[in-house]
């Protein structure tokens, strides 16, 4: 019972915080609001830890039913939470990293007059995200799914006075919605097939099913996932989403929300296992996303944009893992990525804070002396994501690559290229920001403690995160994998069957090449920054990459402009020139008919008599004819 209460408290606390903050947003100061919000999410974190401690993995998980929600006829969809290994993992990530980012935001946002609103929305986001991960059925997950979408919209457009930000916010929401179409389709399909949406029931029933419908269902789910997790072709919103305050980017667009797609896939892993076709699709889309996003990251000049493309790319890796059926590897990468990417974003935020809002890395440089903590933690984040040995990213990424190798060396090679590009652009970023000479004209200053403490905590986590799922190779026993397996009865997570030697060799190759990349980057950017010239001067291919493969332009030409055109013309032509005239036309036709018939009434008495006579004769003739 207490555990049920705890489980309910986890989403309830941030919700409560959101409500309180929203209603008192006028009266609270930024710091108080921040403190309250942080306390709420931290409370949720504590509850999660308590739940985690009392959780017995052997029981597999349980459902906490809060109340009946949609219950009509044979449809029973309760408002219920599910506590199992998977949701606990995600809860810990969301509340844990969430708490840190809330804390960080106190410092970051303290000058903004709408800070209380910001914290309310952040808390609301936490609530939605927790619903997403804790839902005991698809529909509850969907509550969170849409909820995080809304909060993402609000937070991206937090500075609402800039039209571009509003555009970015709308773009994010709409693209997510496109994914949601898939998600809803999947849900109605599954409901129709299984008569329920409870994860537990579906997973139990589904494991034996062999049904082509599952391919459709999983494809639809994956469409939902591409929207939320910014995969091809729906990834362009994520870089734009950097319009929001940096903590938002860290929490929503790096650590938590964007991993919802991965979470959903892992949640429905049983279904995906039934649909190898879908898995292949996921695999290749993941690979393509990872490479394309990484390539774009090479030439970006906005500190947050680089990180954003990096996020997209890393999400691609996670999907590759999902496509390979190694769900634990994906979750592991989700976790480590949450650590280091949150760290990087917060670090970037700290840099931006230090420079008074400057985001262009061409105007930075040489900051390592000014903001030491930031530099140090950022450095750790960078090597973590680059996958230098023993960092958290090293373990998680190599696990995925090993699985890839197991499938096909080509795939491994592709992923390796992606990893190298990651290394390159991250170190390019690091060097351009912190090394060399300062190219801007602000006065950099270190951030306050509320901001640096989260940085430090995350840095530690980025280093030791690998321990969570330490592979056998390093004497671990893949704790996370075994833990997660309890959440999905019926299937076994795919395990790595490569020999240790192969693993060592792969690691060696990777590490070596990464180091080479770091060297190249160092050479080009650390000593004397060779900045790219104007885009116009670049060779074609490079320019294409610098212009983000022109995806935005493509979508604008393909969808946005035609849609606007359609909207304008449906109204001005279809509606106003066709539909309304048809309606009026009927009336006018009747009127002109009336006008025509009216002519018969000439007013000439003789004619009237003649007409009467004529009418009579016509009647007579008809009669005679018919006789």
């Amino acid at each position: 019972m207490t555990n049920d209460l705890l489980a309910a408290l986890v989403p309830a606390l941030p919700l409560l915080g959101a409500i309180i903050l929203a209603s008192l947003r006028r009266k609270l100061s930024a710091n108080v609001a921040g403190g309250l919000a942080t306390a709420m999410i931290a409370g949720a974190f504590v509850c999660s830890i308590l739940l985690f401690q009392s959780f017995d993995a052997a029981t597999g998980g349980r459902t906490v039913k809060l109340l009946d929600w949609i219950s009509i006829g044979s449809m029973e969809i309760p408002l219920a939470l599910r506590i199992d290994a998977l949701s606990l993992t995600m809860m810990l990530i969301v509340t844990g990293i969430g708490s840190l980012i809330h804390l960080y935001s106190i410092g970051y946002m303290h000058e903004d007059e709408r800070a209380p609103t910001f914290f309310a929305q952040l808390n609301l986001f936490s609530f939605a995200m927790l619903m997403l991960v804790m839902g005991s059925n698809f529909l509850i997950t969907f509550i969170g799914w849409e909820g995080v979408g809304l909060c993402s919209y609000l937070l991206i457009g937090f500075w609402y006075k800039t039209p571009e930000y509003n555009y970015a916010a709308r773009k994010a929401f709409v693209m997510n919605r496109i994914g949601d179409v898939g998600m809803v389709l999947a849900m109605v399909l599954l409901f129709q097939r299984f008569g329920t949406l409870e994860y537990a029931t579906i997973m139990n029933v589904a494991s034996g099913v062999n049904d082509p419908l599952m391919i459709a269902a999983t494809l639809f789910l994956f469409i939902g996932a591409t929207g939320k997790s910014a995969q091809l072709p729906l990834f362009t919103w994520l870089p734009d989403a950097m319009a929001g305050p940096t903590p938002v980017s860290a929490l929503i667009h790096a650590a938590t929300m964007v991993t919802a797609g991965i979470f959903l896939t892992v949640r429905s892993s049983v279904l995906f296992e039934l649909a190898p076709f879908t898995q292949d699709i996921i695999l290749w889309i993941g690979t393509a996303t990872a490479l394309i996003a990484a390539s774009i990251g090479l030439l970006q000049n906005d500190i947050k944009k680089v990180l954003a493309y990096s996020t997209v790319s890393q999400l691609g890796y996670m999907f590759v893992a999902l496509g390979l059926g190694s769900y634990s590897a994906a979750m592991f990468h989700v976790t480590t990525h949450a650590f280091f990417k949150a760290l990087l974003f917060l670090g970037a935020g700290s840099v931006i804070h230090a420079l008074g809002g400057e985001q262009d890395i061409r105007k930075m440089g040489g900051l390592k002396g000014h903001i030491k903590i930031t530099f140090f933690t950022f450095f750790i984040g960078t090597i973590a994501i680059a996958g230098l040995p023993l960092m958290s990213g090293f373990f998680s990424k190599d696990l995925i690559m090993a699985f890839a190798f197991q499938r096909s060396p080509v795939l491994f090679a592709l992923l390796l290229i992606g990893a190298l590009m990651t290394t390159f652009y991250m170190f390019r970023l690091l060097f351009l920001v912190f090394y060399g000479k300062y190219r801007g004209n602000a006065h950099p200053h270190e951030s306050p403690l509320t901001m640096t403490i989260p940085l430090m905590v995350l840095a530690v986590l980025s280093v030791v995160g690998g321990l969570l799922n330490l592979p056998h190779l390093f004497g671990g026993h893949e704790a996370m994998k075994h833990f997660l397996e309890t959440a999905a009865e019926g299937i076994r997570f795919e395990s790595l069957e490569l020999s240790h030697a192969t693993e060592w060799i792969l690691m060696g190759i990777t590490t070596t090449l990464v180091c080479v990349m770091i060297y190249i980057a160092y050479g080009r950017f650390a000593q004397k920054a060779t900045l790219e010239g104007r885009e116009a001067d670049m060779p074609f291919f490079k320019r294409l990459i610098a212009q983000r493969w022109r995806f935005d332009e493509l979508y604008r030409a393909l969808f946005e402009k035609p849609y606007g055109w359609l909207s304008t013309n449906l109204f001005s032509i279809a509606e106003q020139k066709v539909m309304v005239p048809i309606m009026n036309g009927v009336g006018e036709a009747a009127n002109s008919l009336g006008n025509a018939v009216r002519r018969v009434q000439t007013g000439n008495a003789s004619f009237h008599l003649l007409a009467m006579l004529g009418g009579l004769i016509v009647f007579l003739i008809i009669t005679l004819m018919s006789n």
Partner: protein, 456 residues
Amino acid sequence: MSVLVLLSVLGVVLLYLGLFNNRGAVAGVGIAGLLGAFVLIASDWHLESPLFNGIIQFDTYARSFSLVMIVVAVLLFLFGIDYYAKVKENVAEQYALMVFSLTGGLLICSFTNLVVLFLSIEILSIPLYILAGGKRDSFRSGEAAFKYFLQGSYASAFLLMGLALIYGATASFDLAAIEAFSTALAGGQNMIFLLGLFLTIAGVAFKVAAVPFHFWSPDVYEGAPTLITAFMSTVVKTAAFAAFYRLIANLQLPGAVETMLVVMTICTLFLGNIVALRQTQFKRLMAYSSIAHTGFLLLAFLGTDARTPDVLFYYLGTYALATVGLFIVLTLAKRAALGDEHIRIFRGLFRSNPWIAVAALLMLLSLAGIPLTAGFVAKYRVFVLSLTNGYIWTTVLAVLMAVVGIYYYILVVREAFTAQEQETKPIVVAPLNWLVISICGVAVVVLGVMPGLLRM
């Protein structure tokens, strides 16, 4: 038949009163006489047997229609007090002629002999030819009178030819004998009889203004003095329909004649409604609307059904009430607008005379057939009849035309309920007129809510 005597005498008395030029007394005596007639009819309620060697039969059917006509005539006479207030001459004559015409109306709905049919049609009509020209100095009035007379006589000639042929075929003027003949004939052919029926129906159809024998109606309605127009579209129409139905009710109509009736119905429905769309002169609009209503009434004729007389009775009664009220409103508005008859004269009526406007609204809605007014019930019952008799497509057309009908009525409503640009003085409404309008307005709603009140 004391009623006929009473009415004839009443007419003469009115003529005498006219000599003394006492207008108030004329109307008063007229109304008193009509009420007397009402009482006489009501007291003779159980008189069903044929009278005068079986050439008329004052049965329930005839009595019901007679009562409606008398009631409407009373309302019109009440209206007449104000209407004729400023007229210098011939007032008594006009009252008397209306009474004479009414006498014809009473006869016509009780005929059982074709001679009586013809005579009473003429008695009904001839006073109207004169009354239509009642405004002697008005060109339009004269034109209306002449056109009415000319076309009426023409139609009479056809009617006569028809009656003669029917007689030729059946050797009798007696309706019962003719009905027996038609039943015996059933299916067989008799061209003389067929032609006779044909021409007779054409002649009667002229009276009810069915297309293509409707040409007189818009012109006469427009040209005639408003009171007379009201009289024509209510009393005369009621009488003509009563006669029409009495004529064909028990006849075994040959297929060709039925076809003729259907075609006539369709044409009437169509033309009346469609042309009314383009009318902006209110009286003319009412004329076409009257043609349109003829179409709906004819629809009830198609096929024989025991309910038809009752439906006709209800329809005509409620139609008459609404029409009388509207013509009074028209007269008042027209007076305020210095003789204009365009529907825009109603503009601002709601602002200046809210109750009159609401009453007019109720009557217009009734004519349009909006629920809870009598007009709806009437139309509804007609549709039930025609669908019961299997005339689905004709009914579909009627339904469509009902929509068209609503359109032109609602245009008038719109005028009445749109505020005028500049403030207008309220239209002067004499108490009696107010009373009649109120009676009509309330009656169409009461009869719509409790349709059981008006039945044969």
